[in-house]
Every structure is written in C-alpha cells, then in structure tokens.
Symmetry: D2
Subunit: 124 residues, 4 copies
C-alpha cells in the first residue's frame, strides 16, 4: 500500500494547523504596534490568516499590558510585536476533522509555545 | 571638526525616510491578502509605520488589479503581498526638514524602486 | 476522557512539521539572493531550521534557473527569495513517529504547496 | 527649478543607507539562531545585504553573550534573532559620496537605534 494513501484527514488537519501558526508568527513578529493600534493589528492578522486554506476560525490576542510596558520603556513610545505578546488560537477544518491549535508565550519556558489543544470529528 | 557635527537635519530626514521604506517592505511582503482584505491591510500598514519616529504621513496603495489577477490564478483565491503590488509614499519630518519618499514597482526594471521625491524646509 | 490525552505522537509530529514549513517560508521570503549567494543561503536556512525542536533533517533547494532568470531581468542583478524558487523537505521526529513534509511551488496551482509526504514509525 | 534636480548624491547616499538598515532589520529579526550558527548567520546577512545596490560594505555582529543567555533560558536551547543582539554597520557609496550608518541596540532607550555615523566624499 502506498504511503500517500495512508495520510488521513486528521493528519492533514494537524499539519495545516501547524503551518498557520508557524506562518503567522514569522510574518507578523517585528511589526510596529502600540496600545492605539493593537486592536486593529489583531483584526488584520485574523483576517489575513483567514484567507489561507482550511481555516475555520482565528482569534488573535495581543497582551495589552506588555504593549503598555514596552511603550513606556521605549524612547519612541511604541513596540515591536514579539512572541511574548501573542496568544493566537486557530481552528482548521480538513474534511470531517477539526483541529484546534494555539500559540501562547510560556514564561517558564521563555518560549512562544505552539500546541494542539483538541482534535475531533467536525460537527458538520 | 568632528564628523558627527557635520550631519545635517536634511541628512537625517533622508536617512529616516530610507529606513521606513526598507522596513515596511521587508516586514509586510508575504502577508496573505485578497480583494476583500486589501483596504484593511493598507490602513494597518499605514498606522503601523506611523508609529515610528519622525513620520509625518504614510500613504499605502496596493494594486487591486494585481491582487485580483493573482486571486484568480491561485487555487485558494488569495495572494501574498508582493513588491509588484505596492505603492507607498512616506513623509518624514526631521526638525525643519521634510523628506518625501516613495516605493513603487517599476516594470521596466522589474524592481520595487525606492526614490526620494522631494526634500524641502518644513512649512511649520 | 479528556481531549488532551487523545492527542497522539503522530498528531504532534504532523503539527510540528507544519509549523516548520510555515515558519521558514514567512521568515525567509524576501531575502536578497543571487546565483553567487544561493548555496550559502540554502545552508543557512537549513541550519537555522535545524535548531527548532523535533527537527530530524532539513533539505533546502532554491531553483538556480529561476534565480538566474530574475537576476537577468532585474536592473541590479539580484532577486528576492520567493515561493516559486523554493523546494524544502523537512523530517520531524516526535517520539516514535517520523513525519516527512515538503513545500514546493506547483505551477498549475500557482502556489507554494505544502504537503505531507510520509508518516511512519521511526526506525530508532 | 524642479524639485527633482535638487536631490544630491549625498541625499541619495543617506536615503540608501537607511533603506539597507530598515530592510535587513525586518527581514532577519525572528530567525532561529544559536551560538553554533551565529557566525554563519552573520556572514549570510552580510552577503545578502551586499547584493543590494550601492552597498560598499556590511559588517554584521550578533552579540554572542546575549545569544548564550537566551539559549540557556529557552527550553529548546536556541534563540530568535532580536534587535537587542544586533550591531550592523553599512557603508553606501552613491557616486562620489560615502555614507556610514549603523544599527545598534541602545539599552537606555530600549531601542535598536539606527544612526548616520559619517558622510564624506568617496576617496575613489
């Protein structure tokens, strides 16, 4: 039996969820942001990621407290979007499978950890 | 006389204008975009660049015709923002000097050409 | 039974493979490249991606013919790394599972398609 | 008198120096790096930036001490290249003018400050 046929919809849903998180992280990290633009930037990232195939939903939260802190420290009163500020949840639906994944900074690891939160058969 | 003192406000205005164009180009190229999200993406780039020091104004235009074309060709009906689609004007004011610069794709060169359009004493 | 426990090593291997491809694509697209620097850039991308968790191997090929063509068209004789030029294979090992994934431009789709090529129990 | 003719070679040299710093910063920030790959990454950034027009020289230094520290803190023993780690000098020659510029993190500002260090008539 060929390897290709062994790859399930579940496999593909998880693969695609990983792609989306890796992509958005490296696309948007470094973007100038402030407390005034943070909400707009969240929406733009959400809408941009939503264009990609098999995305069912995206929710982007940028930590306002961290933005505020770095604005204050920074001479020019703005920040660069960094992994520490991000909390993003994506839901990918590939055929009958739904994968829920998330990237969120974990202070103990000093790492923007990407994890699968749930995989299940899609209700639809 | 030290070199440092010889650097004028005009020099700095031009340097800063270059920084802004180089930065936004390499930050936002690759962002997923479609005819539905293009306007929002323009605004987000404008607002993000406006946070940076000495920016007086930013105007971002993404070529809708090129976005439409690549949407049609692309199996998943969206595009990546590319240099060919961009036309961005920035105005930097450094003390009494205003520098107007622009990045715009030039088909003959096959290049997103960055140029200084105008430098003058600021009216204010 | 909690959802969390249902996530298998196979799921995680595929998720991680997706992360790596999404990340490298959006990190390196836009990098200036020429026929003289292409080999070095391939190695740097490989070594950089190899630092990330659970990577077993990475192989980056940048299409020299496409680099040559765009060098010739471009007034300044260099290119920006684009999705069209890339062919990258990653192997992720998560515990006893190995996932092989690849991003390669598909002309018919006009898309840098990311796919799972193989998933199997690791030999080790 | 037209504005266009008033733009001097000195103006252009400074503008181009700004472009280079802004571009490389936003292109390479976020790249995975470790003490083992740091030297190679420096060379690749130098060679890549050198392809761009009017570049006379580029010198990239990534702070090994900061890389070492974040490797230790990070669960997976690698870092993302960040503005804090960078010290880059570029020399742009535009016709008879040479502009020397630098981006270097300034702790007091918490900012990767970009500055013009010197502008002078080119010796050649």
């Amino acid at each position: 039996m060929a390897d290709k046929e062994e790859i399930s919809n579940r496999d593909k849903a998880l693969f695609e969820a990983g792609i989306k998180l890796g992509a958005l992280y490296h696309q948007f990290i470094g973007t100038p942001v402030s407390t005034e633009t943070v909400e707009e930037l969240e929406k733009t990232i959400e809408r941009s990621v939503s264009l990609q195939p098999w995305i069912s939903s995206v929710e982007v939260k940028i930590d306002r407290e961290k933005v505020r802190k770095c604005e204050k420290k920074n001479k020019f009163e703005y920040c660069e979007l960094s992994g520490e500020m991000l909390d993003v949840k994506v839901v990918v639906r590939y055929e009958a499978v739904e994968a829920h994944a998330r990237v969120k900074y974990e202070a103990e690891m000093d790492y923007p950890f990407m994890r699968v939160e749930k995989v299940h058969a899609s209700k639809k």
